[in-house]
Symmetry: none
Subunit: 144 residues, 2 copies
């Protein structure tokens, strides 16, 4: 299970250090691709295979799911970690995620999410504004 929130720098050479704790759960390499809500997803190999399997099962009829499939598959790159645990973010993905220098790496279940820091902050604030709704959901789940 990948969890946690870390803030790192995407340097001038588009290198991004993956937190050591999380790196341990990923292997030698991983798959970086377009995600939902303008962030990037970084999947461990094993998880990526599950994802592609699921994408194949989705109904091809619906235009929106088809679009999602295209984005995820076409946008995917296999990235390796350099000696210091950094990955290289291609230009088009950097653009897609609107990534600046300060970048947030978040563990979400079976993947990492990579966000521009400002967007992440804004996104969180937006979700937190719906606290009632969330509390309600949590209640339904029996979590509180």
């Amino acid at each position: 299970m990948l969890i946690g929130e870390y803030t790192h720098n995407l340097d001038a050479k588009k290198r991004l250090a993956i937190p050591a704790k999380l790196r341990k759960e990923l292997g030698e390499r991983a798959i970086l691709t377009r995600g939902l809500d303008s962030c990037l997803f970084l999947y461990p190999m094993a998880e990526w295979e599950k994802v592609t399997a699921k994408l194949g099962e989705l109904p091809v009829g619906q235009a929106d799911t088809r679009g999602l499939i295209r984005l995820m598959l076409a946008g995917a790159v296999e990235v390796e970690f350099d000696a210091l645990g950094r990955i290289l973010v291609p230009d088009y993905l950097k653009a897609f995620g609107a990534l600046g220098t300060r970048v947030v790496i978040a563990g979400v279940y079976n993947r990492l999410e990579i966000w521009d820091e400002k967007r992440w902050t804004a996104y969180k604030a937006g979700v937190e504004r719906n606290t009632d709704l969330i509390a309600e959901k949590l209640g339904e789940l029996g979590l509180y």
Copy 2:
């Protein structure tokens, strides 16, 4: 069942001693995450697994549940106890809980809650002011 209220210091290195009595009920490690009312939750592993299991059942397609999942998981960290029973509180969680030096650790059912002392005092005062209302609710529940 975790119960009791303790006040400890969060030191300059963001270490927080968990009361020995409570620690016995937690194992080697636990999950620290964002809670409600600006406090932090510390879950025993077994409880946390229940939470993630439920999160896993939620539909990822809906934007609001996606937000909920992100907040819960990205906000969580696995913390270990050092040789003296202390955990390390990450910056973003310290900020979320508005934690100063004096910190209250309270046992609540299946989790610990971590509060900034002032907020805790204020919160308690607020609740005490509504005692009538609470008593009423308790009555509805058949507790008195």
